[in-house]
Symmetry: C2
Subunit: 270 residues, 2 copies
């Protein structure tokens, strides 16, 4: 199966190359332009996917090239199976960069980075933003990971310990899990946790994309009331308007948050 | 100009479509696969670019689709001009999602997100990671923005006020600039600041990519000594090993950091 756009592009390419090919002349430059001009503009066609199948691909892909590639490659591979071109020719290795919150900087969770990128492949801007908002809020507040692989690769704990990230950031998400479980940030258990979480994010994303595709999408997660209260004075249209963002404020900016004032008081170096 | 890989792919496509076209049969499915199989694997060929030209494109692209698209589209467009295919067919609109730290979540600075993605288009993993490490460290510690557009779009301040982000995160970077300048987070001045910063990031990235291409790349920015000290107890191979990342720790985790303990004590709601 090919899309309408893909088919029209193909017709142009076929017509041009057939004529050129039959003429027997050297037509390299022209034909290149014509044959490659058919890659369609975004968004590309979507078909309902099996969330559990995509989760399996994401877990496996994580083990090859980490978190961002895990989610992105899973969605593109599954769409390659269902839709075919142009998903089959997209170089998904571009998404490897998001590993460890971008090459280990621990900024944005790579699974979430890959999910947002995949969303922009398949939805127009306004709908994509709604899906990403829903996914990121879910990630902040949901105990994860939930995914159980058929064959665990890095570590086999049963039950596998969960934590709530309280943030879309890799640093906060990983450290919260380490503090709760006692496992180290570079342990096999932590790698397993991120692999399963990658599968969870891919599955949730596909559930949301399926819902949009089928006309049944309704956002369930809003920002928590404390964060909304903060935004009332600090975000768009407020008195101060000195910040922007939707990350949970209290994760960092409170006495009981991840950056605990009491911890700092007793810390030897600050 | 086309690459060796692109040329070989083209030869296959031409051969197939020419034969199929001459036969006059319905060959839709076969020809699709053959004609589109030529998109090369990463990394794609690089040519030395003019950093100032890329900065101009980045500033203009920011004004169309924000920060991540600004950097990514600038690099891909410039390589499209110098190298041609496959840059000319890449759907750069995929990078719009990084706007405002991913659709306004204020996580990773979109300019940095787009820069990392562009780097993975043109360099193999190990070299790409070195360039991204250098770029992100530079961004953390450099007073920005430096870029001066020929025709300012959002606001024309002279001199344009700078700040040091102390972080690769959109939230911290924007709020630090707002606190220093007094401009609001959704003001035209802040949008202008992010547009100029997008041009700065694109220019710096191209300077680094050119250096790698010409064999003269040597990292100049290391993590600051306080952050390295923190990592000694908290990061890979340490006693605690309860975190990961390269973001400056003290930006958040100190008394004088962005999350000031004294501020919190006097804050009405925490």
């Amino acid at each position: 199966m090919i899309s309408r756009r893909g088919f029209l592009g193909l017709v142009g390419a076929l017509a041009a190359t057939a004529v050129l090919g039959c003429s027997g002349k050297t037509v390299q430059q022209n034909a290149t332009v014509t044959a490659h001009a058919s890659l369609p503009k975004l968004p590309w066609p979507y078909k309902t996917l099996d969330p559990d199948h995509v989760a399996d691909i994401a877990y496996e892909s994580y083990m090859h090239h980490h978190c961002m590639y895990g989610v992105f490659n899973a969605v593109v591979t599954a769409l390659g199976e269902e839709v075919g071109y142009p998903y089959t020719v997209f170089p998904t290795q571009i998404a490897i960069y998001g590993k460890g919150g971008v090459v280990g900087w621990a900024t944005l969770c790579g699974a979430l980075n890959g999910a947002a990128m995949a969303t922009y492949l398949v939805l127009p801007e306004k709908q994509a933003d709604q899906v990403i908002n829903e996914l990121y809020a879910w990630y902040q507040y949901e105990p994860l990971p939930n995914y159980v692989p058929k064959k665990p690769v890095k570590a086999d704990l049963n039950p596998f310990p969960k934590s709530v990230a309280n943030s879309p950031l890799c640093h906060v998400s990983v450290t919260n899990w380490c503090k709760k479980t006692g496992y180290k940030a570079f342990s096999a258990e932590r790698a397993e946790r991120c692999g399963r979480l990658t599968a969870d994010v891919a599955k949730k994303l596909v559930e949301l994309l399926n819902a949009v595709h089928e006309g049944s999408f309704t956002p369930k997660y809003s920002l928590d009331s404390r964060t909304q209260s903060c935004r009332g004075c600090h975000c768009k249209g407020s008195t101060l308007e000195d910040t922007r963002g939707k990350m949970a404020c209290w994760t960092c900016h409170t006495k009981e948050g991840a950056i605990r004032i009491e911890d700092l008081k007793n810390h030897p170096k600050v």
